[in-house]
């Protein structure tokens, strides 16, 4: 691809992001997450991150072509926040699946993922307890992540505030749980631990395992 230096047309290829469709209906994650909550979360909250990201990208394109460095600098925060929101939520939807489609069902005991979880935490149950304790303790808004360390290829837990992404901390995420209040408030009010206890019933372990194996390559 030929790069046109200083051309206003090069940056015109910044693509607008779109809301990924869920692979299940809004009421398919009940009783863990209600249709009301899921519809708000996907069609309002996630959509807003995408809208704001696209608007900021357009502004960035404009600022870049005008070489308006102050504006370029000012846009970094809003892009980082909304891009993070878009990426984190996109992963989250894939990490969930209806109970009737295998939500909560662990991979085989001798799969690479389960073996590695056992190596790190003793058992999958221990891992869930660890994950929940750490994730419940996040102050304010954030996410709990299980990921593969990009250097060592080992499994690692990481909690992050707001819309930070684990990719910026050397971790390829394979599983994430959103603990912003909007992720659970409608169904669980202020009792975040109850949400975390129940969310494992809809975790899409097949997806987590696929991502794990992919990350090891």
């Amino acid at each position: 691809m030929q790069i046109f230096k200083n051309s206003k047309f090069f940056f015109g290829t910044l693509k607008a992001h779109t809301l990924p469709a869920l692979k299940y209906g809004y009421n398919d994650l009940e009783p863990v997450l209600s249709a009301t909550l899921l519809e708000f979360h996907h069609s309002k909250h996630h959509q807003a991150y995408i809208n704001n990201l696209n608007a900021a990208q357009e502004q960035l394109e404009d600022a870049l072509t005008k070489n308006d460095v102050q504006r370029i600098a000012n846009l970094q925060g809003i892009i980082k926040f909304n891009l993070g929101g878009h990426l984190n939520h996109s992963l989250f939807w894939e990490n969930l699946t209806p109970i009737k489609n295998g939500g909560g069902q662990l991979p085989d005991a001798n799969s690479a993922l389960v073996q590695e979880i056992n190596n790190n935490w003793g058992s999958v149950e221990n891992f869930k307890t660890f994950f929940n304790t750490r994730t419940a303790a996040i102050q304010g808004s954030g996410w709990g992540f299980l990921g593969v360390d990009q250097q060592s290829k080992k499994l690692r837990y990481l909690e992050l505030p707001n819309q930070e992404i684990p990719q910026n901390y050397g971790l390829t995420p394979i599983l994430t749980i959103d603990v912003w209040e909007h992720a659970y408030w409608w169904d669980y009010k202020n009792v975040r631990p109850n949400f975390l206890t129940n969310v494992w019933k809809i975790v899409n372990w097949k997806d987590v395992e696929t991502r794990y194996n992919q990350a090891l390559k």
Binding site: F40, K44, H45, A48, G77, F81, Q139, G140, S141, G142, P161, N162, Q163, W180, E181, H182, W185, W186, K189, N190
Partner: protein
């Protein structure tokens, strides 16, 4: 002595339709009450148990060993301040001494309102938007999570809770609508004027 959940200065439906009775019921009865209960649990048998709430907020800030106490003390403090920052039939243009101070720091009351709502939106994640005073000048600051401006030497005048639980039921994710409504229909300028005198941070 233990910490108490201060009574709401008005009935739970008094701010409706702007903030619903349901929101107040959960926000006050579960979130705020929860912070008070946790604070009592954590301070029992510690020297903090007999300090004033403001002193606990000052004394536990910035210390990893007391971060849990700080978070619950500050959230208790912040919420009590938030309820008083609003009143039924509140809102509108600032009046009294606070109006003069605002006009000294901002070009107009409208540009103050814009700066306030920008700050509310600019707090990515959970936190609070504050109008504060220091050395006779007012400014707008935003804090994240439980943080309180008295720890930075500011005198708080009014606050807006921008944790999602404050506006989720009534506004879903439309924080801008919530912040605008706070200014047009709820903000209690009398409270702001009282705080110019009371100086909670001292």
């Amino acid at each position: 002595m233990s910490f108490v959940l201060d009574p709401l200065p008005y009935a739970q439906d008094a701010l409706a339709p702007h903030i619903s009775a349901n929101t107040i019921s959960f926000h006050y009865g579960k979130h705020h009450a929860g912070y008070v209960n946790k604070l009592n649990e954590l301070t029992k048998g510690t020297p903090y148990e007999t300090q004033t709430l403001t002193d606990v907020v000052k004394n536990t800030y910035g210390n990893p060993a007391t971060v849990a106490i700080f978070n619950n003390a500050a959230q208790t403090w912040n919420h009590t301040f938030y309820w008083r920052s609003m009143k039924p039939q509140g809102g509108g243009a600032a009046t009294g001494q606070i109006k003069d101070l605002i006009l000294q720091s901002f070009d107009s009351l409208d540009s103050f309102s814009k700066a306030f709502t920008d700050a509310a939106l600019g707090q990515f994640g959970s936190g609070w938007t504050w109008l504060v005073e220091k050395d006779g000048k007012v400014s707008i600051i935003k804090t994240s999570n439980a943080d309180n401006p008295i720890n930075q030497g500011y005198n708080p005048l009014i606050t807006l809770d921008v944790w999602e639980h404050a506006y989720y039921l009534d506004f879903q994710n439309r924080r801008i609508d919530y912040a605008n409504l706070f200014l047009t229909n709820l903000v209690n300028w009398d409270f702001a004027n009282q705080n110019l005198v009371n100086k909670a941070h001292l």
